[in-house]
Amino acid sequence: MSLGLFFFLAVLAALSALGVIAQRNPVHCLLALAVNLLDIGVMFVGLGAVTVGFLQIIIYVGAIMVLFLFVIWLLNLQAEGFSGYLGLKLFGAIGAAALAAEFATLFLHTSRISTPGASALTQGTITTLGRHLFSDYLVAFEITSLLLLAAVVGAIGLARRPPLSAGLSAAAGSDLATAESPRQMSRSMSVSAEQQTTTPRAGSA
């Protein structure tokens, strides 16, 4: 990736991250976050981690952010005014100062902008990634997949209707009005959110 492109993406990432916290309307904040994640994905691709970059876009931008959008709509979040307690602001100021100090040290100790080596550019292909996942990190990979499976099963268990009303709602379930009641929709959305997160596992398998 050329330096100019990198700077463009870096500035865009910083601006969109600012947009997430500086805007009042939750939908605008979410869009800024989606732009940020997309930008990071493109940066991954540009730096040679092609598979990770595209997976980031598929999972975060294409699925998780859309579900966030649902949550914002279903909770009917509106643009918020100025608020906050003095204590929170104090904590925020301390955190910001710590972060600024960390960045300052980082900048002072970085001598120059380095370009990624040739080895880094070949490490990100899907072949190398798959080989590493299924040989060096096999145990960690399998444990992660088990964890995701447990999360899926748990989500389905939580979203299941209580058995008492099962007969009643099954009769009414075909009705369009009930199928679109917000409560039920948010349930089915949470299920699909969990199942969406399992796609990378299937992807690398």
Partner: protein, 373 residues
């Protein structure tokens, strides 16, 4: 360096113009074809100074759909409803169209063409992991519809937007599983490589097209793809009897035209994917890099120069694509619309398990039997 840039730019512009042009022609085919199926005459009013009538030609409605309607749409008032989010309302149609158009960047329309000692790969952008790129780009396409529905400040629009995004992320799973089975079969994510692998013959005469190996995946991809493009029978996001027009209820003029073109560009994209993965892409039966090798006891060989081969491949690719576009439009006038809960059940309880089973079976055959495409 400069010449590479120029070649790349030409390829990119040509494919985008081809897709937009094909979308327009499909719009004509949909209107006139619907009229034919429903025993109506259809669009037949507008003409350019009555030239065609004076020559005694039948009015096919080409002027109506390809000239008069776009002109009308782009000169109409661009109305933004009261209380709408102006910025997002204006951005949404383009946010919907843009991802679909950039998806065509990785589509190979032919093998290499030799021009002046230079091998030109007939693909706008060569990406190693093109299948992943396609999934990523299709995933981004949700935002335009969802935001269009939300920014309009209208109940019908919002319901349409919610339905559209729920439907698209549900059917994306089935689409992804169909992709994965294809990728496992061919052993590559590179679309150009997938097309090349489908060259040659089985048993001396049968073209090695993917449909013969992955018929289930073909049905999955076609069904999920049609659901992604929100066509009948999957058009609940814009169900006119329930939601007026769904997420684009509050759009008029040029922006509405952009949404409409998006729909048809998606139809083209689905047709292109089906062609690439299952019908040999740009492969012409028995045509190799040096010419035709016809099957038969005597094995007739017809040598052809490189440019003729390239042209034949491009023509074959677009013919297959147009065939599947027309197929999708015929489906629209054949099947009734799903109910919303049926749609969700079909996606999650029908297509998804079939896709998982197909993927497991494919992986089993590839790994255990060591079968290579």
């Amino acid at each position: 360096m400069l010449i590479e840039l120029v070649i790349g730019a030409i390829k990119a512009i040509v494919i985008v113009l081809l897709v937009l042009g094909l979308s327009g022609v499909l719009l004509w085919f949909e209107r006139k074809g619907a009229a034919l199926i429903q025993d109506r005459i259809g669009a037949n009013r507008a003409a350019v100074f009555g030239w065609g009538r004076r020559l005694g030609l039948p009015n096919l409605g080409l002027v109506n759909t390809l000239l008069a309607d776009p002109l009308k749409l782009f000169t109409k008032e661009d109305f933004v409803p009261d209380g709408a989010d102006h910025f997002l309302h204006g951005l949404a149609p383009f946010l919907a169209l843009f991802p679909i158009l950039i998806a065509f960047a990785v589509v190979p329309v032919g093998d290499t063409l030799r021009v002046a000692q230079r091998n030109v790969n007939l693909q706008a952008a060569h990406v190693d992991v093109a299948a992943l790129y396609l999934l990523a780009v299709i995933g981004i396409g949700v935002y335009g519809l969802a935001l269009g529905g939300w920014a309009s400040n209208n109940r019908w629009s919002l319901l349409g937007g919610i339905r559209a995004s729920a439907q698209m992320i549900s059917y994306e799973l089935a689409l992804g599983l169909a992709f994965l089975a294809v990728v496992v079969t061919y052993g590559t994510l590179d679309l150009q490589e997938i097309c090349r692998l489908q060259g040659g013959v089985w048993f001396g005469w049968l073209p090695r097209w993917g449909i013969l190996v992955q018929p289930v995946s073909f049905l999955l991809l076609l069904t999920a793809g049609m659901a992604e493009s929100k066509r009948v029978p999957f058009d609940v996001p814009e169900a006119e009897s329930e939601l007026v027009a769904g997420y684009f209820t509050e759009y008029s003029g040029g922006k509405q035209a952009v949404f409409m073109i998006t729909d048809f560009a998606e139809v083209v994209l689905v047709a292109v994917l089906v062609t690439l993965f299952f019908f040999g892409g740009w492969q012409v039966p028995w045509l190799y890099a040096d010419g035709f090798h016809f099957p038969g006891p005597h094995g007739v060989f017809l040598p052809l120069p490189n440019y003729v081969v390239a042209i034949l491949q491009i023509v074959a690719f677009w013919l297959k694509t147009v065939f599947f576009c027309c197929f999708q439009i015929l489906v629209r006038w054949t099947l009734p619309r799903f109910r919303y809960d049926q749609l969700m059940q079909f996606g999650w309880k029908g297509l998804l398990p079939v896709g998982v089973l197909n993927l497991i079976l494919t992986a089993f055959v590839v790994v255990i039997a060591g079968a290579h495409y």
